[in-house]
Symmetry: D2
Subunit: 158 residues, 4 copies
């Protein structure tokens, strides 16, 4: 099928490639040789890199515009809960997704998925915004909170 | 202090380097430049590699002897829950630990920690044993179950 | 411009994206966050991974068909000479290329390039084919030698 | 044998572990599971990481003291020529070395080796010092040139 790589996929394109519920951001890529381990399948660490790549793309698109002209926060992973459903092999195409499901004053929860026909892995990440010196929490701007509620259906929990 | 690398640390040595409760396996290593990201701290993926290194060392020491003469299972990570407490920087020495806290018929739960003076990260991993063709679960041998109970204080849950 | 990722680029598409001399195999990808180091540019090791990805794609397309029904060789990197021309940053699209420039009885020389508008890095790799036990050289089949001469303009040196 | 990790090895210790000619800096480490590829041997990229780790240790010890109080240069790899002699496997201990063999006004050539009983890989790296904005060369201070001649037997070529 006509999978377009490194480009946000429309809800229709996501459905065509098997995603049950289209996500706010979804982009495709392909398994590399260097991501395999001695079992000839994708090593568990590679998924973390795929999730990270999409988190950065999501941050640049959704978060960064709200910090224009400000000293931007550090965006740090505090907890990662990764579930591996089904192994992947060389040259498989896959789609990585991102959605913010909830947020508090200085933190948010992101849900991510890997699809390759069916669901291969999920990650729930607790992210915290910190000031550049790392010493204190950095509150999500109101405009960002409104965007997350509107675009991702995120829930304000604090 | 006299930290010995790549060698199982005695309970006393673990306590001397800050571990509150000595663990069944604990080995030390040092942060590398390649593990840093643009924030000049250790990237979250690097910890996964440290945990993996010690899981392999643990498997080779504790699990492998129970499969001698048998067709050994595949030892696969099903779920990883990683908590990041405090960032790490270049050249820091750290100690990685492993302990099996519970097991069922064909799976087990491993708790791992990273210490560098204080606790930096933890991981709870759900591991499953599968036959080499990946098609069915592979039961933990009775001798292994007994070892895990005796050496790690693991709880039999199934 | 309309860059298609993970798909062999035609000679015309290669020229449109700046390559001076179209190469036998050229595919595009994008820089990831995990490939950056503390200098905020792509770390030198990442290029090795990109070159490897394309070498594997090249091998599967050009070499593998000549070993059908045979016990395939191990394809091992003996020497890598990498030249870094100009640094790369996050989200840059790039094209990796591969061409066999010469071969001997059980080895060959591959030239690879990274382009992103202009030339960013090159690698000359000396590859050897070994039997699966690694103990002796594995001769390039005559049909493969003919293919390399015809498609890549490779020179037979032994 | 009594191999000490992550600590500069004396000339005697280097000889005891097989090095023919002791090098100015040599430190030991151990192969990790994550460095293996599907061929069950250390992937060629892992060596680049080992060489990098020791280059950073060398830079911090030998170069950095000469830039105290100054705006330090960027230390960039321009060319890497890596030769792979003999494969390595899981849990092997190895020693990485570094020596500056020559220098010019704003660049230097470093020779590095990997030993594990015998010689496994070498790298010749051409390194350049650049100003922090990356726009111009940064001359090696006279005190550093003298140190490289005296400690490494480096040759001044410009």
């Amino acid at each position: 099928m006509d999978l377009i790589f490194h480009t946000p996929l429309s809800p229709d394109a996501q459905r065509r490639h098997g995603l049950e519920v289209p996500q706010p951001l979804a982009m495709a890529d392909r398994v590399r040789f260097s991501e395999l381990d001695i079992l000839h399948h994708v090593n568990n660490k590679a998924y973390l890199s795929w999730f990270e790549t999409l988190r950065v793309a999501y941050y640049d698109r959704v978060f960064a515009p709200h910090f224009k002209g400000l000293c931007a926060p550090r965006n740090v992973l505090r907890n990662a809960n990764v579930h591996y459903m089904k192994e992947m092999v060389l040259d498989e195409d896959y789609i990585t997704t991102a959605r913010v499901v909830s947020f508090r004053r200085t933190s948010y929860v992101m849900e991510q998925q890997i699809w390759s026909g069916d669901l291969r892995a999920t990650m729930t990440g607790v992210m915290v915004l910190r000031t550049q010196d790392g010493k204190s929490g950095y509150p999500l701007p109101d405009s960002l909170r409104a965007t997350l509620i509107e675009q991702d259906g995120a829930v304000a929990e604090g």
